[in-house]
């Protein structure tokens, strides 16, 4: 480490760490360059280098790490959940419903996936477990019509939140994206302001294609925020760094398992440390003890 700078080999290693975390070539190079541009002490320890890397990534993610707020003046507050097949939409809806139910909110779920086998049944089971009303139509029914009905039902029940599930669709399937556009359009007939939030659910195991997902779902459905699922595996979801740089969309939550409580707020620091390959920080022992006591 002459010239009080990280040497090229180290920078190359850092770039590899980022590439393995799915940042993509362009974002990985930008971040590595930023790390290289700063000047550091001699004899810097590998863990310190990683910490510097983590900080650089954290700086990019910090502005988009935003909480998800329900505007209580909108009743029902309509949340539309979209994404490609199997990304975790229905499960994320269950997790959100669970969170809001435990805060005492009344929640209605709309089974807008009228296509996939047993999609409605899957949501019904969650609804039963979480004590949330489920509005469903017949299999093969028009999802847009169901969206309209669901808003009406939620309004009649004076529910605080309506969570609308949709069928998974790949963003390059134009006919399916047109259907999604129609769902949004028809929702506005029931409530001109709806949907009040549109969450795009991204799977952490997906690589560079997530960028295209954000682009097209954003254009079609007016995505207002992101949730990234399946971070309990070995995928790091680094594509969020590229997404944050390009689209600056809020990232609200991460999914870390299949149970209703496996949802955590997105925090730039933890996420960045995981990308840099650092262990999660020791949690405050006092806090941990309090947690156990609960």
């Amino acid at each position: 480490f002459t010239k009080r700078k990280l040497d090229t080999l180290t920078l190359e290693e850092l770039e590899d760490v980022l590439l393995r975390a799915d940042l993509g070539v362009a974002a990985a190079q930008r971040v590595t360059k930023a790390v290289g541009a700063a000047r550091y002490e001699k004899n810097i320890e590998p863990d310190e280098v990683r910490a510097i890397l983590a900080r650089e990534v954290e700086n990019i993610l910090e502005p988009v790490a935003l909480p998800f707020d329900i505007d209580a003046s909108r009743r029902p507050f309509v949340v539309l959940v979209v994404g490609v097949n199997g990304s975790g939409k229905t499960t994320t809806i269950a997790k959100l419903a669970s969170k809001w139910r435990s805060e005492g909110k009344s929640v209605v779920l709309a089974a807008g996936d009228t296509f996939r086998a047993a999609a409605v049944e899957q949501l019904r089971i969650w609804g039963d477990r979480l004590d949330a009303t489920v509005v469903a139509g017949k299999e093969g029914a028009d999802a847009a019509g169901l969206a309209f009905d669901a808003i009406k039902t939620a309004r009649e029940q004076n529910a605080e939140v309506l969570l609308m599930d949709t069928a998974g669709r790949l963003q390059n399937r134009t006919e399916l994206m047109a259907e999604l556009e129609k769902i949004v359009r028809v929702m506005k007939k029931a409530d001109p302001e709806a949907p009040h939030a549109v969450l795009l659910v991204l799977d952490a195991t997906v690589g560079q294609n997530a960028l295209a997902q954000v682009e097209v779902f954003g254009k079609t459905a007016g995505v207002t925020g992101l949730v990234m699922t399946k971070l309990d595996g070995t995928a790091r979801g680094g594509i969020l760094v590229a997404i944050a740089e390009k689209y600056a969309l809020p990232i609200h939550f991460v999914g870390v398992g299949e149970s209703a409580d496996d949802l955590e707020p997105f925090t730039a620091r933890d996420f960045a440390r995981a990308i840099a390959g650092l262990d999660p920080e020791e949690s405050d022992p006092a806090k941990a003890a309090a947690e156990i006591a609960k």
């Binding site: 070539v25 390059n172 195991t205 294609n209």
Partner: protein, 297 residues
């Protein structure tokens, strides 16, 4: 969204043609573009490295520097090495053993196992005239067994009756008995999705394998998978010894580099390609098609 490798390489080599001579450094620059294209296509980093070494050796051997259209030549070499790595011939499912032939489906959550199970069942019934039974061993995901039952009715293939509160192993046992007693040729075992670092679930999968001794263990994986493809393929293979790979969501616009990664680290063939949600959206593996996709051609 991506400029194709072909465009990039012709860009590099066009500059050179005008300059009139080609150096080692030029070829090195071209290889850098190859590596970048593969990374953009989601090929795993280590796989990109060993792949690019192979291409380089081949390029030296073929004397690319002296050739008339070096860009085309590099592309051809890359393409050839890709096809070789992916496996040149399609390997069919092994269903001609003494019945009942057991096929077990494994993979991460949401990869497409249940859907693919029903597609394979339909194909074996219609094309190979097999008597097929499907059983869902997924006692975890809400309505998973119901999902397979509905698909079974759609494709007119029997599914093992659902008995609540059984363990996956008990269901596997029941499926094996049904196959023997009722004379099925093929039994497809759909399993719950699992993360490869979830030890209890990986152990459960290994136990199902020891009990059922499947003839085929297919790893179902999303064609959109990023760098994680190597980890998941390695781990599933290490735990149960997969016999092949099914790539799903090839109807998407992902570049599908995961195919190369998984094939490279496991050496196991890609047997089938899934191209949609409908029950006939299942194709034979075609290396050329995947190679073109990875190169963005």
């Amino acid at each position: 969204m991506f400029e194709s490798l072909s465009d990039k390489l012709s860009g590099i080599f066009d500059k050179l043609t005008r300059r009139g001579s080609l150096t080692e450094a030029d070829v090195e620059e071209a290889l850098r573009e190859v590596r970048r294209a593969l990374l953009d296509a989601d090929v795993a980093l280590d796989v990109v490295r060993s792949f690019s070494d192979k291409v380089q050796n081949r390029a030296v051997g073929a004397n690319v520097i002296k050739s008339i259209s070096p860009g085309q030549m590099v592309i051809k070499i890359v393409n050839d090495v890709l096809v070789e790595t992916l496996g040149e011939t399609a390997e069919p499912l092994n269903t001609e053993e003494r019945p009942p032939v057991i096929i077990m489906m494994v993979g991460l959550q949401g990869a497409g196992k249940t859907t693919t199970t029903a597609k394979i069942a339909k194909r074996l019934k219609e094309r190979n005239k097999k008597r097929v039974l499907m059983a869902s061993l997924d006692v975890k995901r809400p309505a998973a067994q119901e999902q397979l039952a509905i698909l079974g009715r759609q494709v007119e293939v029997d599914t093992l009756p659902i008995v609540p509160n059984q363990t996956p192993l008990q269901i596997a046992r029941r499926a094996a008995e049904a196959a023997r007693l009722e004379g099925y040729d093929v039994v497809l075992l759909d399993t719950a999705g699992r993360t490869h670092i979830d030890e209890p679930l990986m152990q459960e999968m290994a136990d199902i394998k020891s009990y059922a001794s499947p003839h085929e263990i297919l790893l179902v994986a999303d064609a959109l998978t990023g760098q994680d493809a190597v980890n998941l393929a390695k781990n599933f293979d290490a735990r149960v010894g997969i016999t092949g790979i099914v790539l799903t969501r090839m109807d998407g616009d992902g570049r599908g580099g995961a195919a190369l990664s998984m094939r490279h680290v496991t050496g196991k063939p890609i047997k089938l390609i899934a191209t949609g949600e409908k029950m006939d959206a299942l194709d034979e593996f075609a290396p050329k098609r995947i190679a073109d996709r990875i190169l963005g051609m």
